[in-house]
Structures are given as structure tokens and as C-alpha cells.
């Protein structure tokens, strides 16, 4: 518990409270209108409990547990992706090597070895995958296959590992921005606050875009990819997320108010495109959900779709300014 600031503990408590209130609301809804089928909503709520309890406990235990949990999410995401794509039979062993990238990448995260963390998948795996593929000797469909495998690694492993990498960040005197004094001494690690801010804002952005899109707006923003998304929903979501970031960011993290505002804008826009890129993938493959792992949500990739874009964008924004 000592590694968490009072604000981070309050934020975790707030999320737990939100979950309780939402559950009571769903329960009341089921009681008041017993004739309507709300199985999906109830399932969704139950899954939220599992997700939040798992991550909440990992937060309280510490960095190692959190990294293992993120690595597991990457594994489930990559497995979903590999189960969906039309990979070639000859690539079975190549996919095995791709799975091995997960423990290695998260080991760099654990070591806080930024240089290796940032090049391992874009450079080394980028070459290892085609090299292994060449050894199988099948050239037909080579480009398509090597492209598919690498995109999967970038999305489910490289991108998501950025969220876990936030946890080990430490401010140093050579950074471009001078944060509040208590962060300068190094007594308080800034990572947990940043990670909660990223995850909470990404989630709130998803909800805000949905709610704004439902309540107003007719012009579709990407009718072929996701018919439900409107221009008003997008703008409303981005503004909501940015304002919320501006309000919560400076309290919860070392970000200044202006930087928190920009971070909110980045998460709003990035989350939108991350969500749509997974939607486009699903349309291309002809599936509705990436799997049925999370009752009420769909698959792991359906849940972390926005995060695959917001995590690296947010990480590199704060990394440039503070670390």
C-alpha cells in the first residue's frame, strides 16, 4: 500500500464506489422491470467486477503483479487474434515464437529497460518472425502472413505493454518539465497515478462517445466501419474526456493542468481510432466479437480496443515531458 499516494488510493476507492453504484442501479432496473431481458447488462456488470477486482488487487500488491496481469491480457489478446486470422498452416511454429515475445517484452518492462522495451518488437521481432517463416520455406502468402503476425504483436503486445511500462517511470532532473515538489524527491512514484488516469480516461471516453452519439448527432463519422458512431458523439466524447482529464489529472498525477488537458485530447482522439481499427478488423474477418471470453463484453480485444492506441500515445506524451 505504501507505494500508492493518497490520491491514487482515493481514485481506486472512487472506482470501486462507482462499480457498487452501477451494480445497485442494474439490480434496481431488473427488479422494477422484471419482464425485460437484461441478461447482457447483468453479464457485463459481473465481468466488470472481475476485471476491476483483479486490477485493483494487482495495484495494491505492486508492480510485479500488475506486469504479470498485463502480460496475461496480452497473451489472451494475441491468442484471440491468432485464432481469428487466416494464418497459413505452415506458420504454426512461427506463431509459437510470436507468443514467446510476450514474456520477453514484459521482462524489459519489469527491468525498466526503456531502450530494449522500445525496440524489441519493432526491430528484433520484426526480423525474427520473417526469418523463422523463411525457414519453413513456404513463399506463397508470405507477405500477407508476415504482415498479419507483426500487426498482431504490435497491437496486443507492444501497445498494451506501454500501459504496464507507465508503472515503473521515475522523474529525473534532466526532464523537460519540473513537476510539483513532492514528485521531485522521488519519494512518490508517479506511475500508478498515470496508469489509473490512462485506463479511467480511456474507459470514460468510450462511454462518453457512446452516450453523446446516442443523444445527439446524425452525421455518421465512419458509416462503413461502425454505423453507430456520429460526428457529435466523437466531438462530445473528446471534449468530455479532455475536461475530465483537466480536472482530475493534476490532482491524481504529476501532470500540469495544460498537459493533462492535452493528454485528455490525445486519449479522446486515440481511443476513437483504436476502437474503430478493431471494428474494421472484425468486419474484415466477418466476426461480431473477437471471442466470447468476457460475458456481456465479447472478447479481450473488444475490451482493450481503445487502449491499444491510447496506451502508447499517452505513454510517449508523458515520457517526452517528464521522464
Amino acid at each position: 500500500m505504501d507505494h500508492l499516494t493518497t490520491e491514487v488510493r482515493w481514485a481506486l476507492g472512487g472506482i470501486a464506489l462507482l462499480l457498487v453504484v452501477a451494480s445497485i442501479y442494474v439490480f434496481a432496473l431488473c427488479r422494477l422491470q422484471p419482464d425485460r431481458d437484461r441478461k447482457d447488462l447483468v453479464d457485463r456488470m459481473k465481468t466488470w467486477w472481475v476485471i476491476i477486482l483483479l486490477f485493483g488487487c494487482a495495484f495494491l500488491i505492486g508492480k510485479g503483479t500488475l506486469i504479470v496481469l498485463f502480460a496475461f491480457v496480452s497473451f489472451l489478446g494475441l491468442k484471440e487474434y491468432f485464432s481469428l486470422i487466416p494464418a497459413r498452416r505452415a506458420d504454426r511454429r512461427v506463431l509459437f515464437w510470436a507468443y514467446l515475445a510476450i514474456p520477453v517484452q514484459y521482462y524489459w518492462v519489469w527491468l525498466d529497460w526503456y531502450g530494449m522495451f522500445i525496440v524489441f518488437i519493432p526491430i528484433y521481432m520484426f526480423m525474427l518472425i520473417p526469418s523463422r517463416m523463411i525457414l519453413t520455406g513456404v513463399t506463397e502468402g508470405f507477405l500477407r502472413s508476415v504482415g498479419m503476425v507483426h500487426w498482431g504483436l504490435m497491437t496486443t503486445v507492444f501497445s498494451l505493454s506501454h500501459a504496464a511500462a507507465l508503472i515503473g517511470l521515475e522523474w529525473h532532473s534532466g526532464a523537460r518539465t519540473l513537476p510539483a515538489e513532492l514528485y521531485q524527491t522521488g519519494e512518490i512514484p508517479p506511475g500508478p497515478g498515470l496508469l489509473i488516469l490512462l485506463i479511467a480516461l480511456t474507459q470514460i471516453n468510450d462511454v462518453a462517445q457512446y452516450v453523446w452519439g446516442k443523444s445527439l448527432g446524425k452525421r455518421k463519422i465512419a458509416p462503413h466501419v461502425s454505423p453507430g458512431k456520429t460526428v457529435a458523439g466523437f466531438l462530445g466524447g473528446v471534449v468530455t474526456t479532455a475536461l475530465l482529464a483537466c480536472a482530475v489529472g493534476p490532482w491524481l498525477t504529476l501532470l500540469t493542468r495544460e498537459h493533462a488537458l492535452i493528454a485528455g485530447l490525445i486519449i479522446g482522439v486515440g481511443g476513437f481510432f483504436g476502437d474503430l481499427s478493431i471494428s474494421a478488423l472484425k468486419r474484415d474477418l466477418g466476426v461480431k466479437d473477437t471471442s466470447a471470453m468476457l460475458p456481456g463484453h465479447g472478447g479481450i480485444m473488444d475490451r482493450v480496443d481503445s487502449l491499444t492506441f491510447t496506451a502508447p500515445l499517452f505513454f510517449h506524451f508523458v515520457y517526452y515531458l517528464y521522464f
Binding site: 489472451l76 491468442k79 481469428l84 486470422i85 498452416r89 504454426r92 507468443y99 466477418g286 471471442s291
Partner: protein, 212 residues
């Protein structure tokens, strides 16, 4: 002793592999037979097939779930024979029928009489990964002898990718399991095989198109 070993093997080895390394998407689990005598008929692509189907049952009911398997393969040596019959709980049958041998399906009759849930792979062998071979008609003879026993068709997809024939390296893939409505013997062997094939085809048509 073997009962405990069997329960432990499934709890500590099979379950973690099937549920975490692989992961299952089961469509209509409620259609699985809850008690014997009953027969589950499934497609066969991997050694994992029987283990996955057995995982769908809890540790307690596991004792009555018995895969029917080829004696020439699974009783090859002493250790494998002990492991197959005592730990996996297979019912070995002879694939090669000689004139002297008695009814090769007798062990199946006995197991059904004892109220077991049998797992049968009518393709006979695992064959090419993720490809469905022609069903053999032995299943029709079993159904004819046991008119009252319900037969549940199950189509599994993904295990032939995870661990195909001739490979020792397990690569994680989600496994889709489609369970169809049970049916019974309907009067003729040809008619029965037709029902079985068409029920299985309905399940195959449910899976997404993009694939190997």
C-alpha cells in the same frame, strides 16, 4: 488410487492447459448429456479432442465420461496402456476385425449398460488438421443396438491448429465448440448416417469462414 490420480491429472494438468493455454468458446453447453447412458459424437483432429470434451464435465462426473479409442494405438506398450485405460479412462476397441474375434463393439455395449457417457470419433482417426473425413458406419451399428440412447453431435474447431497429428509442440489457439441437439436411432443405417452428417454440417456452418 487410480481414481485419485485421474482426478488430479485432470485438475492440475488438463484443466489449466485446456482452459488457460487454449481457452474454450462453448456454444449451447446445456445440450451436453448430463448423465449416461449417452453418446457424444465429435469430429477428430487432435489428441486434445477427448481431453477438451472431458473438461466440459466437472471432476465428479468425469468418472463416467469415457472416450472410445483404438486399441492398436493406445495399448501399444504397457505404460501407455495403463495411462490410457486408468487415467484417461478410454474404452479400447479393435479397429482391425478378424474372423476369430468376437463382436468388436462389445466393450461399448458394456460401458453403455453401466451408464457411462461415451465419446466417439466416427472419422476413425485424426486425419489432416481441421479437415472432416467421411464418417465410418460403426456408429450406426452402435445406435441400432441401443435405440434408447441419445446421441449428441459436437463439432470442435481450433484443436487441429493447436496440436495436429504428428506435432509435439502445442501452440495456443482458442477452441470453438458447437453442440447440437441430441437425436436417436431412426430405423435405418443409411438414414441414421444421413442425420448424423447433416446435423454435423449444421454445426460446421456456424463457424466463421476465414480460416486455413
Amino acid at each position: 488410487m487410480n481414481r485419485i490420480l485421474r482426478a488430479l491429472f485432470f485438475l492440475l494438468v488438463v484443466r489449466p492447459i485446456v482452459l488457460i493455454v487454449l481457452g474454450l468458446n462453448v456454444r449451447r453447453p446445456e445440450l451436453l448429456p448430463k448423465s449416461g447412458p449417452a453418446i457424444i459424437v465429435a469430429n477428430h483432429n487432435s489428441h486434445l479432442d477427448a481431453l477438451v470434451l472431458m473438461t466440459l464435465y466437472g471432476t465428479r462426473r468425469l468418472q463416467t465420461v469415457r472416450p472410445v479409442a483404438a486399441a492398436d494405438y493406445f495399448l501399444k506398450n504397457k505404460f501407455l496402456a495403463w495411462f490410457s485405460t486408468q487415467i484417461l479412462g478410454i474404452i479400447p476397441i479393435n479397429r482391425v476385425v478378424t474372423k476369430e474375434s468376437k463382436n468388436p463393439l462389445a466393450p461399448i455395449d458394456d460401458a453403455l449398460a453401466e451408464g457411462n457417457i461415451l465419446i466417439l470419433f466416427p472419422e476413425g482417426s485424426r486425419g489432416d488438421p481441421e479437415k472432416l473425413d467421411q464418417f465410418k458406419t460403426g456408429i450406426a451399428r452402435i445406435a441400432q443396438h441401443h435405440e434408447e440412447v441419445e446421441i449428441t453431435p459436437v463439432f470442435m474447431h481450433g484443436l487441429g491448429k493447436a496440436l495436429p497429428r504428428g506435432e509435439a509442440l502445442l501452440v495456443p489457439f482458442f477452441c470453438d465448440i458447437f453442440i447440437g441437439p441430441p437425436f436417436r436411432w431412426n430405423g435405418s443405417r443409411a438414414g441414421f448416417m444421413e442425420t448424423l452428417t447433416s446435423e454435423m454440417q449444421k454445426l460446421i456452418d456456424e463457424k466463421p469462414k476465414s480460416d486455413w
